[in-house]
């Protein structure tokens, strides 16, 4: 199922903050995402740059999906009703139920 992938696609060109499993938080403009939820961010800023100067000269980056812990999303661009409906439908599809999909 590609629900979450689709959600990220609709958020292209929005600003998100990605928190990695090494506790690094990177804010940037979402440029693209793929089926593995690998993420490309533009115009990035690392939070607490004094403690994390490692990426000072990095302007855009590719983050491997598997190292992501959280992504903070812009709430105003997320249609929660649509998500819930799609999630219900998606699950029915997977279980092969006859109910509408």
């Amino acid at each position: 199922m590609q629900l979450i992938f689709s959600v990220f696609k609709t958020l292209t060109d929005q600003t998100v903050t990605v928190e990695l499993k090494n506790d690094l938080s990177i804010t940037g403009v979402l440029k693209s995402v793929d089926q593995f939820l690998n993420i490309r961010l533009d115009n990035i800023k690392v939070s607490d740059e004094n403690r994390h100067p490692h990426m000072m000269a990095v302007k855009n980056c590719f983050i491997r999906g598997s190292v992501v812990r959280y992504v903070q999303l812009p709430a105003e661009h997320v249609d929660t009703q649509l998500l819930e409906d799609a999630t219900r439908r998606g699950v029915f599809c997977i279980r092969g139920s006859p109910s509408g999909c």
Partner: protein, 93 residues
């Protein structure tokens, strides 16, 4: 308590489906817990939650005693499924 069949629960994911648009409790790896309103999930247990509060338990590794809790809040959050240990529906008490 309703019988499981009558309440429409036949398999584990049904329990999560019935929690859509409700507040859920999520336990994550790394001594993290979340409370938030569930809007989407998939088979990897990737989640999208709103009005989320995270509690991180900071454990002193030597004495193995909990020394502190750190709390953070977000309006809308994607949670990667590989960190999820459990999702618990809202209490109906």
């Amino acid at each position: 308590m309703e019988p499981a069949v009558a309440s429409g629960i036949q398999e584990p994911f049904d329990l999560i489906r019935l929690s859509l648009s409700e507040r859920v409790f999520v336990k994550l790896r790394g001594d993290r817990e979340l409370s938030g309103i569930l809007h989407a999930y998939d088979g990897h247990m990737n989640l999208i939650l709103s009005d989320v509060e995270e509690t991180v338990m900071i454990v002193d590794t030597e004495s193995n005693q909990t020394i502190n809790y750190a709390k953070r809040k977000w309006e809308m959050l994607f949670v990667r499924g590989d960190g999820v240990i459990l999702v618990s529906p809202p209490s109906r008490s």
